[in-house]
């Protein structure tokens, strides 16, 4: 009998390890997820998404089509036959630029019949070797008219240079590029691994996400800067100062010193495994109280999370918090439309997603109700200032309402990193600043990720936030 009990306990714990625990969906009050019916019979893996001035949604599919979804709810095919596009930009109402594997291509509707009839090469200054993993992400366009894109490393290419996992057969794999208005291609930055999302801030700064794996401890948000190294050495195969031998013989310490540190670490599994494009909320309040923040989808976790940035003494850093989970498929592309609704392009093909559907399109709509959620977090010399979207119940503001821990990550060729030196941090004090803001005093360590869990904080009605764990990357501790 005892043995049987033990066995069933073991079985139960094994099942728990394998099957995801059914948790309540994270979704702030006032937001809902709507599912868009995609064209019948089409494999609608949406990996490129943007909107035009008339609020037509343009979706590029992995199958190679570009579709337009009108405000009236009609689907119209705009282009077809592309090579697995994984990015789309609406330039104007007749021109779409897509990032397909071999080329950055402008689709032009010259006879104005609503269908593209010219497929124009904008750039192809990198090399594509027909490897499935050589994805091409982008583009974004800055105010000067330059395009930017990112180029994935290869996987399983027998001819590639690699250091164990991801590889490059050369031609700027693992690089970001710039193309100016004259069409000149410039390799822009290097050391990227699987940079599945690129975005541009209202201040004209380019950011990209990179997926956890070899040389990427956990997924990241990075600020793209010219000629900078972002940590994956395989891309150096195209750097004029490097040979395969030099790449292999350079120490991890030297690479670590050289590399750009992530602006934000995105904790693996807890927030994301395979983040897509960062999209700034500039909807002027149409999407609720998170104006100016970055929204990103995750392909594996089928969620959307928020990122808040700040700059301390010239050092960029910020925090990430889950926003909504439980989407139907893997979220890889997000874009705001003209009404301030957040559209989500989805695919789960080849890589699993928590959402059970293989592909799809959903959107997040706000009904005007302000939820109780974390609004912002800022680092201070002695802790953090945290603000909320609604007044906090003063009675809930106490030390035990909040817990904190911190850790850092290993950098190296291992596939991802565990949390290193994970420790609980004592909350020294919690002090109310105004009805929506508190200061949390604690002794956090520079260079660590600090997780604050404010599960005990409530609004005046006694409700806690839908998402209570915020992860702050403390690159620079304010003086």
């Amino acid at each position: 009998m005892k043995l049987q009990i033990k066995k069933s306990l073991l079985a139960a714990s094994l099942m728990a390890a394998i099957l995801p625990v059914q948790a309540e969906q994270v979704i702030p009050t006032g937001y809902k997820v709507e599912t868009i019916k995609t064209p019948q019979g089409m494999e609608f893996h949406v990996t490129g998404l943007d909107v035009d001035s008339k609020n037509n949604i343009y979706a590029a599919t992995r199958f190679g089509d570009v579709w337009r979804y009108t405000p009236e709810g009609q689907w119209q095919k705009f282009a077809e036959g592309l090579h697995e596009p994984t990015g789309l930009l609406v330039e104007d109402d007749n021109h779409i630029v897509v990032a397909q594997k071999p080329e950055l291509t402008r689709l032009s509707d010259t006879d104005k019949d609503g269908v593209a009839d010219e497929y124009i090469r904008v750039a192809d200054g990198w090399k594509f070797h027909d490897n499935y993993h050589e994805y091409h992400f982008g583009p974004v366009k800055d105010k000067a008219g330059n395009y930017y894109g990112t180029l994935n490393l290869s996987h399983g290419d027998p001819n590639a240079f690699d250091m164990g996992t991801m590889g490059s057969s050369g031609g700027y794999r693992g690089w970001a590029y710039q193309v100016n208005q004259q069409g000149e291609f410039t390799p822009y930055a290097f050391g990227l691994r699987s940079p599945a999302g690129i975005g541009i801030s209202p201040d004209d700064e380019i950011f990209f996400t990179d997926n956890q794996g070899d040389w990427v401890a956990t997924s990241t948000l990075q600020l793209l800067k010219k000629d900078k190294f972002y940590g994956h050495p395989v891309s150096l195969i195209d750097h004029p100062d490097y040979t395969p031998e030099k790449i292999r013989n350079t120490s991890v310490e030297a690479y670590d010193k050289w590399r750009e540190k992530p602006v934000v670490h995105i904790p693996h599994v807890e927030i994301a495994n395979s983040p897509g494009n960062p999209e700034w909320n500039t909807t002027k309040g149409q999407f609720g109280p998170f104006e100016g923040q970055i929204f990103v989808g995750d392909q594996t976790q089928s969620n959307v999370f928020r990122i808040m940035l700040e700059e301390i003494d010239g050092v960029r850093q910020g925090a990430v918090i889950n926003f909504i989970d439980g989407f139907q498929s893997g979220n890889i592309r997000v874009t705001f439309d003209q009404k301030g609704q957040l559209w989500i392009g989805q695919t789960a093909r080849g890589w699993g997603a928590k959402g059970s559907k293989p592909y799809g399109l959903q959107k997040v709509v706000w009904d005007g109700t302000t939820p109780f959620e974390l609004q912002n977090i800022q680092a201070k010399a002695d802790g953090f200032r945290v603000s909320f979207t609604q007044p906090i119940d003063a009675k809930s503001i106490k030390k035990k309402a909040i817990s904190a821990e911190q850790w850092h990550y290993n950098y190296g060729s291992d596939y991802g990193s565990p949390k290193v030196d994970l420790t609980q941090i004592d909350i020294n004090s919690v002090k109310q600043v105004d009805d929506k803001t508190i200061d949390i005093k604690l002794d956090a360590t520079q260079g660590y990720v600090v997780m604050l869990d404010f599960a005990g904080l409530t609004n005046k009605k006694g409700s806690s936030a839908s998402s209570t764990k915020v992860y702050y990357t403390l690159n620079k501790k304010p003086n």
């Binding site: 036959g81 397909q100 090469r121 399983g156 290419d157 001819n159």
Partner: protein, 450 residues
């Protein structure tokens, strides 16, 4: 008594017939084996195959109306004598005539030899399955001393790992393996973590490669395979595969040659997503088997198709038949190549244009019933479109948009599998190697009789 005598004579007659038949069969098997080493006989068999068999079984033996003749599946026997008899007698109900009266014995043997020269897949697959109690050290050396819990011969030339029927097991498979003769290949497995493997080719251990996926390089052509797999001790990691996908592919995973396990067969069978240009001209940019990266394919309702490459600004392939099965390129991670559904008229490195990428600057293409490509070759601005497509011909038109000061243009012609090429300007044959740009503003290249 009478019945005894009848029975006796019947038995003797039967024995004589069996002996005679097996003697004749051995003879054909041996003769075909001899022909396999005679290039002239193979060439002759190829010619006869092209005339009598290719219409139904496809020129590359991959099958159409008739069965695929180069894979592991032999519904009517896989010995040379079986195939010889099938060619001789046919299957009238299935629509295949007997060729016994039409072709002499030597011709039929040569056809068998040609088919066998192209053979791919497994044969004589035998398996031994062991239970964990028989390998206490979880070592393959344990198996040397053990008696298999189960053993037998696969009846469909595929390894069926589900025969183990227990969660934890070790298996040793021996088989004849026919790898492609003209391409490098590897045995490829998706076993998940922690299983152990040993692979021997012609008795020699082969080093396992790969990380998540495992692979072992194969020799070209025929070889003896021993494949050993031992699952880890249960409970398994959730990603450990008890029924793994095992197949033979190109080292870059672009082409699936054939399945080795039943799991692989079911996966490969699902890799079909045909794009047929039956109503309108279609343009598709995909990874295409045997064509270089950067190829753009154009398919016509007349069941003729070509591919233009944006890196050499040239035609790099032309095939007859339906357009493309893009399934291997759009299902799962899409690691493998789309497959032209038909027969090549020419393919890369044969080109219409040039193989010198440095001469090429691609600009754009226009879609429609006559897709048009715009590019420069050696600084000469050109456009290329099709004037006419029939089921046996394609006429391409080059227009010189701007010679940019160049006096002549050199267009390399491809060597064709069938048909002929005609290059015309102003109604006259011209030399494609020295097209006089001072006189010629447009010229056509017609591929006909294909």
């Amino acid at each position: 008594m009478i019945s005894y005598i009848k029975g006796y004579f019947g038995a003797v007659l039967g024995l004589l017939l069996i002996t005679f038949t097996s003697f004749a069969s051995e003879s054909i098997d041996q003769q075909v084996q001899t022909l396999l080493n005679e290039p002239a006989a193979i060439a002759s068999g190829k010619q006869s195959y092209g005339i009598y068999c290719a219409a139904c079984h496809a020129k590359d033996l991959s099958g159409a109306v008739g069965f695929n003749l180069k894979d592991s599946v032999w519904l009517h026997g896989d010995s040379a004598s079986d195939v010889f008899n099938n060619i001789s007698n046919g299957f009238s109900q299935a629509g295949m005539p007997g060729f016994g009266a039409m072709l002499n014995e030597q011709q039929r043997k040569e056809i068998v030899a040609f088919i066998f020269s192209k053979r791919e897949g497994l044969a004589n697959v035998e398996y031994e399955i062991y239970q964990p109690s028989q390998y206490p050290n979880y070592s393959f050396s344990d198996l040397d001393r053990a008696t298999p819990a189960k053993q037998g011969r696969a009846d469909n030339n595929l390894v069926n790992f589900e025969l183990a029927e227990t969660k934890e097991y070790a298996i040793v498979v021996t088989a004849d393996l026919y790898a492609p003769k003209d391409k490098a290949s590897m045995l490829f497995a998706k076993p998940g973590p922690f299983s152990q493997f040993e692979v021997l080719i012609d008795g020699e251990p082969v080093k396992m490669q790969g990380g998540w996926d495992r692979f072992w390089p194969l020799k070209k052509g025929f070889q003896k395979l021993v494949f050993k797999m031992m699952l880890p001790e249960a409970p398994y990691h959730e990603l450990t595969q008890t029924n793994p996908d095992l197949r033979v592919m190109t080292p870059d995973e672009a082409i699936n040659f054939f399945p080795v396990s039943t799991k692989a067969e079911s996966i490969i069978n699902q890799l079909e997503h045909n794009i047929i240009a039956d109503k309108t001209v279609l343009v598709q940019r995909k990874k295409i088997a045997e064509l270089p990266a950067y190829s753009i394919s154009v398919g016509f309702p007349k069941k003729i198709n070509y591919a233009f490459n944006t890196k050499n600004c040239s035609l790099v392939g032309l095939w007859k038949g339906d357009f493309l099965n893009v399934g291997p390129n759009v299902i799962g991670r899409g690691k493998s190549s789309s497959l032209p559904i038909g027969n090549w008229v020419f393919k890369s490195p044969q080109v219409l244009g040039t193989n010198d990428e440095a001469l090429c600057a691609f600009n754009k293409y226009q879609t429609g019933e006559q897709p048009k490509f715009y590019f420069s070759l050696n600084s000469v601005e050109l456009s290329l479109t099709t004037l006419k497509a029939t089921s046996t011909s394609l006429t391409f038109e080059y227009q010189v948009i701007n010679p940019n000061g160049k006096k002549s243009l050199n267009i390399q012609l491809p060597a064709l599998e069938s048909g002929q090429l005609t290059v015309l300007a102003n109604g006259q044959n011209i030399n494609p190697k020295a097209i006089d740009l001072t006189q010629v503003k447009a010229f056509t290249v017609t591929v006909s009789g294909v």
